[in-house]
C-alpha cells in the first residue's frame, strides 16, 4: 500500500498532464457535392407482430424526394413513396402510392414564392397534436409508427396554389385548395387519392409578425366549403439554453360529417422540451381536443368519435397528457432510444411506445414495442390491441 498509492498518484498526474490527442490536420476539406436533381432515395421495410388485426404484417417501400432547379427563379419538387403491404389474412396484399408532393416552384423576386401543384402544407409548433394544421384530415395513408417525424413523412400533400411573402422579419402564406373529387371509399394501387386531400374547397392564411424577444408566433385562419373555419395561434419561446416552451391553440368549426359537436369547439396543445448536456431530451405536452366527448366510453357513438380522431390525427381523448423522451447515443454512438407515453386524463387508458434504433451512415435498424391499456370503449382500448412489436430497416441509396 505504501508503494501502490504513490504509484497511482504519479500515474494520475502523468495522465492529467498529457497533451490531448488531436487528429492530424486534414488536406483541403472537400466541398459537398450539390448536383441536380437534389434529393434522397431510400428503401424501407418492416415486419410487425401483435395481438391486433392483422396479427402479422410486412411491408416494403421505396421513398424518394427530388428537387430540380431549372433557373434561379424556377424549379420543381417531386416527393413520393410506393409501398407493398402483406397481411396475415387472405387477400391481404396491396400496393399503395403516396404522392406527397408534385409542384412547380416560382421565385419571381426576393422574398416572394409561388408554388402550384400538390404540396405539403403544415402548421403547428406542438409535438403530437397540431390544432392549427387545417389540412391534416385523411392525409395520412398508413400508420406504421408512433414516431411523429416518420408519420409526417407519410402524409399526402394538398393540391393547390401557395403564395408566400417574407419581408422585414414578417411573413405571410396563403393557400388556396380547390375541390377536385369526392373521397373514395377504397381507392387502389397507384391512385393519387386527390379525394382524400381535396374533397372540399379550402383556404388558409398564416401571418407571422416575427420574433418578439424570445417569443415567436404566428396566427392562422382558415375556411372552406361546408362552413368549416379555423382561427388559431402558435407561440414558442426559448427559455435559457436548454428549454423550449410552446403553445398551439385553435377555435374550430367543422361540418357535422367531419366530427365534433355542433357549433364551435376549442383545441390546444401546450408543453415544453428540456435537453440535457448529455443528449437526452424530455418533452411534456398537455392537450385538449374539444371535438371529442368528455369520456369516450360514455359517448353515444364512441367508435365514430374515435374514427374521426384517427382521420384528423388528433387525440381520441378530450384531455390527455403526452410524455416524449429521446436519448441519443445510448450505450453506443450509433444507438438512439425514443419513448412515448400518452394518457387520457379522464379515463384509465394509456399507450406506451418505445423504439431502439441503430443508425449508421446509410442504414438504420429499429425495434419498436407498443403497449396499450384501457377498457374496450376507451381511447387506447377500443381497437382491442394490447401489444405489438415492429422491426424496421432503412437503406439510403
Amino acid at each position: 500500500m505504501r508503494i501502490l498509492f504513490p504509484t497511482l498518484l504519479a500515474f494520475g498526474l502523468v495522465v492529467m498532464g498529457q497533451e490531448p490527442w488531436l487528429p492530424p490536420t486534414a488536406p483541403e476539406a472537400p466541398a459537398p457535392e450539390v448536383s441536380e436533381p437534389q434529393g434522397t432515395l431510400f428503401l424501407e421495410g418492416g415486419a410487425s407482430l401483435g395481438d391486433g388485426v392483422p396479427q402479422r404484417s410486412w411491408y416494403l417501400g421505396l421513398d424518394g424526394r427530388s428537387t430540380w432547379r431549372w433557373s434561379p427563379t424556377l424549379g420543381a419538387t417531386l416527393n413520393a413513396r410506393v409501398d407493398r403491404d402483406w397481411m396475415s389474412r387472405p387477400g391481404g396484399a396491396s400496393t399503395t402510392l403516396t404522392l406527397r408532393e408534385a409542384f412547380l416552384a416560382w421565385r419571381p423576386k426576393e422574398g416572394w414564392a409561388l408554388d402550384l401543384g400538390r404540396m405539403q402544407v403544415r402548421e403547428g409548433v406542438a409535438l403530437g397534436f397540431n390544432p392549427t394544421d387545417g389540412f391534416r384530415r385523411d392525409a395520412l395513408l398508413a400508420w406504421r409508427t408512433q414516431d411523429f417525424n416518420r408519420l409526417r413523412e407519410s402524409r399526402l400533400g394538398v393540391v393547390g396554389l401557395r403564395l408566400q411573402v417574407v419581408r422585414e422579419g414578417r411573413s405571410l402564406a396563403l393557400v388556396l385548395a380547390p375541390r377536385i373529387r369526392e373521397n373514395e371509399a377504397d381507392p387502389r394501387g397507384y391512385d393519387p387519392r386527390f379525394g382524400r386531400t381535396n374533397a372540399a374547397a379550402r383556404w388558409s392564411l398564416r401571418v407571422s409578425p416575427g420574433s418578439l424577444g424570445p417569443l415567436y408566433g404566428s396566427v392562422v385562419v382558415a375556411g372552406g366549403e361546408g362552413g368549416r373555419s379555423l382561427a388559431g395561434l402558435n407561440l414558442s419561446a426559448g427559455l435559457g439554453r436548454a428549454t423550449v416552451a410552446y403553445l398551439e391553440a385553435a377555435q374550430v368549426k367543422r361540418p357535422p360529417e367531419e366530427g365534433g359537436p355542433e357549433g364551435r369547439f376549442h383545441q390546444w396543445a401546450g408543453g415544453a422540451t428540456y435537453t440535457t448536456p448529455w443528449r437526452q431530451s424530455l418533452s411534456l405536452e398537455v392537450r385538449r381536443n374539444g371535438a371529442q366527448p368528455r369520456r369516450l366510453s360514455e359517448s353515444t357513438l364512441p367508435l365514430e368519435a374515435w374514427s374521426q380522431a384517427l382521420r384528423w390525427q388528433e387525440p381520441a381523448s378530450r384531455d390527455s397528457l403526452l410524455l416524449h423522451g429521446t436519448w441519443d447515443r445510448l450505450l453506443s454512438d450509433f444507438l438512439t432510444l425514443q419513448a412515448l407515453w400518452q394518457r387520457d386524463l379522464r379515463e384509465a387508458t394509456s399507450m406506451a411506445w418505445g423504439e431502439l434504433a441503430y443508425r449508421r451512415t446509410r442504414a438504420s435498424l429499429g425495434l419498436a414495442l407498443l403497449r396499450q391499456t384501457g377498457a374496450p370503449l376507451t381511447a387506447f382500448g377500443l381497437t382491442g390491441q394490447r401489444w405489438a412489436a415492429t422491426l424496421t430497416f432503412r437503406w439510403y441509396l
Binding site: 476539406a29 459537398p32 432547379r69 414558442s236 426559448g238 441509396l397
Partner: protein
C-alpha cells in the same frame, strides 16, 4: 523575476490601451468575414483515435446589423438521411426544418448536432456580442499544431441565459489576435469541451482558422474536428434567414 505587483502594473497599460472586449472582437473578425458568405463544413468524429462518423454541411451567414450578431442557415448535405434538412439560427431562435415534411422544430442551443459539436458550435457567432470578457493573464500555451503561442487568456461570461455556454476560458494570440484555444464551461464550472483553432489560411481577405478541433471535457478520446472550406461571398436573401421562409429555400 517580476513580482505579482510588477506584473499587474505591466498589464495595466495593456488593459487600458487595448480594451479586453476589443481583443475578443478582433479575434471574432479573424474567424468571421464581415460580408455575407457561405462555406462548406465537414464534421469528423473520432473515438479512441479512430474515425467514427462524418457529416457535411453548407453554412450561409450574414451579419444582422441590428443585433451585431450573425444570422445563420445550415444546410445538411451528408449523410443521406439528413440531406437538404435545414438549421436556422436567427437571433434567439434556432429552428430545425425538414423540407420533406415541412416540419419546423424549435431547438435549444444545447441540442447537439454531431459528436461534440452543438448547434452553437457550427454557426457563425461573434463572441464579443454574447460574452463579457475579462483579462486573466498572459501565458504561453501549445496550440492545435503543437507550437507554443504567447496569448492573452480571457475569461468570458455569458451576457444572456440563452447563449450556448455559461463561461468560456479563451486564449487569443498576442499581436495577431488569432484564436488559439477555448475551454467551454457549464454553470457549475465543469469543463464541457475544449476547442483548438488551427490551420490558418487566407480566405476572403485574411487568414482564418480552417479547422476547429473539439475535445470532450469528460472523455478526451472523443474528438470532433470541424473542417471549413470553400469560403465564398454570397448574397443571402432575408427569406432564407426567417423560419417561415425555410419552405421556400432554393440554392
Amino acid at each position: 523575476m517580476r513580482t505579482p505587483l510588477a506584473l499587474l502594473l505591466a498589464l495595466a497599460p495593456l488593459a487600458a490601451s487595448t480594451p479586453v472586449q476589443q481583443i475578443l472582437a478582433a479575434s471574432d473578425a479573424i474567424r468571421n468575414p464581415a460580408e455575407p458568405f457561405r462555406l462548406s463544413l465537414t464534421l469528423v468524429e473520432y473515438r479512441d483515435k479512430k474515425q467514427q462518423d462524418t457529416a457535411q454541411l453548407v453554412v450561409y451567414a450574414r451579419m444582422n446589423p441590428g443585433r451585431g450578431q450573425f444570422d445563420n442557415l445550415v444546410r445538411f448535405m451528408a449523410p443521406a438521411r439528413d440531406r437538404n434538412k435545414l438549421l436556422l439560427k436567427n437571433g434567439n431562435d434556432i429552428w430545425f426544418f425538414d423540407p420533406a415534411t415541412q416540419a419546423g422544430l424549435r431547438l435549444s442551443p444545447q441540442q447537439r448536432l454531431l459528436g461534440q459539436a452543438s448547434n452553437g458550435d457550427v454557426v457563425t457567432v461573434n463572441l464579443a456580442q454574447d460574452y463579457r470578457a475579462e483579462l486573466e493573464q498572459e501565458e504561453t500555451i501549445t496550440d492545435g499544431e503543437g507550437k507554443p503561442r504567447q496569448c492573452w487568456k480571457l475569461k468570458l461570461s455569458a451576457l444572456r441565459s440563452d447563449v450556448s455556454y455559461f463561461k468560456v476560458d479563451y486564449w487569443v494570440e498576442k499581436g495577431t489576435h488569432r484564436p488559439v484555444k477555448g475551454q467551454f464551461l457549464s454553470e457549475s464550472g465543469r469543463l464541457l469541451k475544449t476547442a483548438y483553432y488551427r490551420k490558418f489560411r487566407p480566405q476572403l481577405g485574411r487568414e482564418r482558422p480552417m479547422e476547429t478541433v473539439i475535445i470532450d471535457g469528460m472523455d478526451p478520446q472523443w474528438v470532433t474536428c470541424m473542417q471549413y472550406g470553400d469560403y465564398q461571398p454570397k448574397h443571402i436573401p432575408e427569406a432564407w434567414l426567417r423560419k417561415d421562409g425555410l419552405a421556400t429555400f432554393q440554392d
